[in-house]
């Protein structure tokens, strides 16, 4: 019936989708962390990733640092960036409507996209991971080592943050802050410090995301578009759920690859770029809070 259906081809599309999906989930985690603590969507998440990638690339190429040093410096730089950003831009907005925080992140995104090429230069750089470039061949599958590492890092951090929010006292305090700031304050929780922590954690995720996505796509301003690509992931999975970020990432990754593999040859290409958004719109209509997002509890 489907003469063009080949299970090997499908399997390799699926594998690719899963790996890419996990890498999406890593970036999505940045959205989730900020949203969980502050109830605001960080529209500059993609720019965070871009900035981190620039940091990493400059350390590797211009400063000639070894790979692991570059990763550590990028991590430290992005944590400092997260803390600083909270202190300078977001803390004065505490107590204001959430919309003003969101607008501030949109403004920040534009500033970062404008300033980064000024500081780092506009040319595309590459981040080279200290691994073999050749794909790992496993049966019928060709797996890119960079994607495998990216997915591995994503799984590690997704697990770590899941534990943090469910089991650690700090994680529970952070969820309490997101639930009700005033009451959290009255329970002795330093709300501002937890906001800062959330932004710093978004910095950590962005640092790793910047390194893996930077080495996959190359480092320039266009890397910031990853932020837009991850929107369907978080909308689908639920803005405040780590599990949602994983599942959303996997679904989007797989859909994207299947669309590229089966629909593109039929319609002549391009479906990969909009299929996730179609899914996002459907998700918004059917389940606006996402698959795993919290529903508002109404008690009467």
């Amino acid at each position: 019936m489907f003469d063009w259906f080949e299970w090997e081809f499908t399997l390799s599309l699926l594998t690719n989708g899963v790996l890419i999906g996990l890498m999406y989930a890593l970036i999505a985690l940045g959205f989730v962390l900020v949203y969980k603590a502050t109830d605001a969507i960080n529209f500059a998440q993609g720019e965070f990733v871009m900035l981190a990638a620039f940091f990493g690339a400059v350390m590797l190429l211009s400063a000639g640092a070894p790979f692991w040093v570059a990763v550590l410096v990028t991590l430290a730089g992005m944590i400092a960036f997260g803390f600083g950003l909270e202190r300078v831009v977001l803390r004065p907005l505490i107590g204001r409507p959430i919309v003003s925080v969101i607008m501030a992140t949109i403004g920040l995104a534009a500033v970062l996209r404008g300033v980064a090429p000024l500081v780092f230069g506009a040319e595309t750089r590459s981040i080279v991971m200290p691994v073999e470039d050749a794909p790992i061949i496993w049966g019928p599958l060709f797996i890119s080592p960079i994607q495998l590492i990216g997915a591995g890092v994503a799984v590690m951090f997704l697990a770590a943050f899941t534990w943090f929010f469910l089991k650690s006292r700090m994680g529970i305090a952070m969820r309490a802050v997101a639930d009700n700031q005033q009451v959290a304050m009255a329970m002795g929780i330093n709300v501002e410090r937890y906001f800062a922590l959330a932004w710093a954690m978004a910095g950590v995720v962005s640092a790793l995301g910047g390194i893996v996505w930077g080495s996959l796509l190359g480092v320039d301003v266009h890397l910031a578009l990853i932020g837009l690509k991850v929107f369907p992931v978080v909308i689908l999975g639920g803005l405040d759920s780590i599990v949602g970020a994983i599942v959303g990432g996997l679904i989007i990754g797989i859909v994207e690859n299947i669309a590229a593999g089966y629909l593109d040859p039929v319609v002549g290409g391009g479906t990969k770029d909009f299929a996730p958004y179609v899914l996002m719109i459907i998700a918004l209509m059917v389940r606006p809070y996402g698959i795993f997002g919290k529903r508002q509890i109404e008690r009467v």
Binding site: I172, R175, D179, Q181, A186, N190
Partner: protein, 264 residues
């Protein structure tokens, strides 16, 4: 334990809510603050716990002292570590957290984990129903259970002074009895001090040792709870009884003439 000296509270820089409130809460006592809606009872509690600033309110005059130490300039989270915790009106549990997570969050200022665990067990011993529901999401608890959780969560910070804001609001009389009984135990067994804001004056005066009456941002009456229960104004306006102790009819009310004396 707690002394408030002539404080004024201003919201948004212009709205004067408290106009010189002074009160004292003695160690190991239950003190109640009575008054109608909008009298400034909740604002007084928020001034003490420091959450006023998050609502653009500010203590502009006077001082609040805890055991002789001024706390009116402290941040809210700092005041909790000094042993003062507020239970908000209308429960306000963390609805997305489970019962046990609510308690863990309540014990945020307690530094070591074994003490937090012991604190959770202490709360469960007072409110066994919370133990049955420990893994449930707090938003789905009944109103009474949420009130228990709110009080238990406050107990987690190991306070010296609990500020209770209308714990009877919207609860069945039997539950209110149960909760007030436990509050009484906090004082006798745990040596806590309680400042209770209530609209249910009859119950509050039964429970409390000492009482204050607020109107329009001022304290208008003060005395031992037993004395206040016998005061004819309290009887008429707050307990709904006439001079003879009989439930009165609104037809006989001389409300406006009598109230005038307090307002001036």
């Amino acid at each position: 334990m707690l002394t408030i000296n002539n404080i004024e509270v201003v919201y948004d820089g212009v709205i004067l809510v408290l106009k010189g409130v002074s009160l004292e809460v003695r160690d190991g006592s239950i003190t109640t603050l009575l008054g109608a809606n909008g009298a400034g009872k909740t604002t007084t509690l928020k001034a003490i716990s420091g959450v006023l600033r998050a609502e653009r309110g500010e203590v502009t005059k006077g001082s609040i002292e805890l055991d002789g130490k001024r706390i009116d300039r402290f941040a809210a989270y700092d005041i909790v570590s000094h042993g003062v915790v507020q239970v908000f009106e209308g429960r306000r549990v963390f609805v997305n957290l489970t019962v046990e997570e609510n308690l863990v969050a309540g014990g945020h200022v307690v530094p070591n984990l074994p003490k937090v665990r012991a604190g959770i067990e202490r709360v469960y011993s007072y409110f066994p129903r919370l133990k049955e529901r420990r893994q449930q999401q707090a938003g789905y608890l009944s109103g009474g259970e949420q009130q228990m959780l709110a009080i238990g969560r406050a107990l987690m910070s190991d306070p010296k002074l609990i500020l209770l804001d209308e714990p009877s609001l919207g609860l069945a009389p039997m539950l209110v009895e149960e909760i007030f009984g436990i509050v009484r135990q906090f004082v006798t067994k745990e040596k806590l001090t309680v400042l209770l804001v209530e609209q249910n004056a009859a119950m509050a005066l039964d429970l409390a040792d000492h009482g204050y009456v607020m109107e329009n941002g001022r304290i208008v009456l003060e005395g031992a709870a037993a004395t206040l229960r016998e005061n004819s104004d309290i009887k008429e306006f707050y307990l709904g009884l006439n001079e003879g102790g009989v439930r009165k009819s609104y037809r006989d009310s001389k409300r406006y003439r009598r109230r005038k004396r307090w307002l001036s």
